[in-house]
Amino acid sequence: MYGTQSKRDLALEFQSQIPILRPSIHARRANLTVKFQDLYGFTVEGNVDDVNVLNEVREKVRKQGRVWWALEANKGANWYLEPSISEGIALKSSLKFSTLANAITLKRLIRKGIPPLLRPKVWFSLSGAAKKKSTVPESYYNDLSKAVEGKVTPATRQIDHDLPRTFPGHPWLDTPEGHAALRRVLVGYSFRDSDVGYCQGLNYVAALLLLVMKTEEDAFWMLAVLLENVLVNDCYTNNLSGCHVEQRVFKDILVKKCPRIATHLEALDFDVSLVATEWFLCLFSKSLPSETTLRVWDVLFYEGAKVLFHVALAIFKMKEDELLLTHHVGDVINILQKTTHHLFDPDDLLTVAFDKIGSMTTNTISKQRKKQEPAVMAELDQRLRRLNSLKLDDK
């Protein structure tokens, strides 16, 4: 087991080790590509401008940290963990004004980012993971880990296959210690919910959770709350039906919110699911730089799964002009990939996602999901029957 202490040290180490990079004028002129490590230890390749942006982001993260500390000093430590605030979205008139004000402050604050050092505590509480954990005996995770040790299932075999393939080269994840921790979280979860078992994509999500949370056990509970409460049901089960539903809802929202892009892509015969499926299943961890991904998750854990629609729409919206000029599917994908890989400043993305897209209520989205569910089920069912008829023909 890896200790609580070593994990926190690791995060601090990353942050202190990284010197402010000052690219020379020669590098700037030559438009060189440089490799460097970001806040969470991922190797990033970028040009001089990217390095500058990352330096600015680092400074902004520090400033945002000071804002949070100041609020703690003012409102008391852990003010945001008070249940009526953390669950404060249900704003009842009976609530005290100060509680309401705090809830609004918190929402705004979270959209501006949770400082990396506070993330474990804030995520754990606001996502509902703490509550989930409190409903079972204290030893649940350790008992589970022990009980499943040495058991071999199709899921464990696939997990073992993917361990060294999950963010290879990362200074902690790609070590025996990192592999072992990721394995325990994924294997443990595969036994907790055998309908999900192991779905590729969860390896990336769990790996990032491990990097952020202080302990392996907390990472496990974050994964649990994510799959069981935050995201729509059945995103990762057998035929990914929940994911299919989300994709259909996303297409509808794109038509509504970005009609020009939707029409243009339709004319190119470009299905947005071609790119958005990975975004939704990996929660952007494979496409966005790490701090940007985690800023999306900050909001995801507080405001819920509709955040994924906001962010996905924002990526299209940011490149509207360029996208409208494309003639070919390949160009669309290249623009989107280049954009996501270079979104080093999370605010560039989140400003569009929340200020320019306009609001979407969880309620409206739930209704749209309900509307799409029967169509998805019918489609998957029809496909299954077709495949079964293939098998019958063989006999």
């Binding site: 296959h161 393939r165 290879p168």
Partner: protein, 199 residues
């Protein structure tokens, strides 16, 4: 680069096969000449492009490299829809992946188009000592199903270029060279571009 007066074929190519058979590695070797021992698993699909110049045509590939885990199967139609070529991959050191490859072929035959160029790729030929699928077995299945069979290794680069050249050649043959801007398949009318030639 396109040779002057040569026709250009735009072709969508899809890779299908079980997880860990080396689909992404095949493409990366072909497109970038790279190989990574620990290639990250693909989620949904990844997109690549590559251009091959032949004597008779220039083939521009749009390559869709799909996720291999069984549950991602339900996404596959989105990726093979309108493909001109399909590469079905298995790992010579795993019988299970060959069984899965056969299923892919059956599915493609039912839903794809009759002009689909199909390749059965036995990857990881560098793992000869742990081979579980005989060459004859693979060849026989490929022949029965009108595909061509090739054994490759993304790791050593063996036969990777040959695989894509063979596909390009078959596409060029299927695509008549005379008229300018001719669409080969009437499905294009439904805006499902299979492949088209420009004179």
């Amino acid at each position: 680069m396109a040779r002057p007066g040569n026709k250009i074929i735009q072709a969508k190519l899809v890779l299908l096969g079980d997880m860990g058979t080396g689909k992404t590695s095949l493409v990366l070797r072909f497109v970038k000449g790279q190989f990574f021992e620990n290639q990250e698993p693909t989620i949904g699909a990844a997109f690549f492009t590559q251009i091959l110049s032949l004597q008779e045509a220039t083939v521009k590939f749009d390559i869709w490299d799909t996720a291999g885990q069984e549950r991602y199967h339900s996404l596959a139609p989105m990726y093979y829809r309108g493909a001109a070529a399909a590469v079905v991959v298995f790992d010579i050191a795993s019988k299970d992946t060959f069984i899965r490859a056969k299923k892919w072929v059956e599915e493609l035959q039912r839903q794809g188009n009759s002009n689909l160029v199909m390749a059965l790729v036995a990857n990881k030929s560098d793992l000869e000592p742990s081979r579980e699928v005989d060459t004859e077995e693979g060849e026989e299945f490929a022949q029965e199903n009108g595909m061509f069979y090739i054994e490759t290794s993304a790791k050593t680069a063996e036969n990777i270029n040959d695989l894509f050249y063979e596909i390009a050649q078959r596409l060029a043959k299927a695509c008549p060279s005379k008229p300018s801007t001719m669409n080969l398949n009437n499905e294009v009318q439904h805006r499902r571009k299979l492949f088209c030639c420009f004179g």
